[in-house]
Symmetry: C2
Subunit: 127 residues, 2 copies
């Protein structure tokens, strides 16, 4: 099984980069533990491990904004995953399609994409 | 300064994804410490921090395969960097353009890109 070759770090985590399977836009980077990876493989829907909450989460479990995995790529060191995904609505909780919506421009930022959804309506104002 | 807003992890490291600035291909993921980030910003050439060697390295210092940074993007949590680069020759030490040249295909891998260079000629056989 390919999972046996993958090297999780000393915290048991694997960085996973999610990329739009059609445009190539990089959407986000998060971490999978072994259970998250196994669920991602089994279901075809991206699952991650939240370091802050210390628990498994399915991307989109609150928002509905799931990631349908079209391909898994592994890097030369077997320690970083690249998943090519079909993203429902948007990847970022701020309302942007990609989490990398800010380009560093000298000492400040430029926002390079518009919001697709209103995060207060999706997640509620209490977040 | 934008660097002041960036959150390095408890090891003082920041994951940095390098992406081809023209095609969008994801090339590699490595880590920067504050010094590597500052050198990357100052020189426009990607510098990283090697966790195995515990030292700063300039990508291409042995191979000549440098990454010329065209843009820096930061994610919504300020803890992951995406750099858009013009890659000299290839990113991967194995001879492939991207480190993610293996697509997981059930229980095995499919190599999805040809080698661009012979790594023995670039790095020597003793590596």
């Amino acid at each position: 099984m390919f999972i046996d070759n993958i090297k999780f770090d000393d915290r048991g985590l694997l960085p996973a980069i999610a990329q739009d399977w059609q445009t190539g836009e990089v959407l986000m980077m998060a971490y999978m533990n072994q259970e998250a990876l196994e669920k991602s493989v089994k279901t075809g829907i991206a699952h991650y491990f939240s370091r802050s909450r210390q628990k498994l989460w399915m991307k989109g479990e609150s928002s509905g904004h799931r990631q349908h995995i079209k391909a898994f790529h592994i890097d030369c060191d077997n320690d970083t995953l690249l998943i090519k995904v079909e993203q429902d609505i948007a990847a970022c909780h701020t309302g942007h399609y990609s989490c990398f919506f800010r380009k560093i421009d000298g000492d400040s930022f430029t926002i390079v994409s518009e919001k697709i959804f209103d995060e207060d309506k999706i997640y509620g104002k209490q977040k």
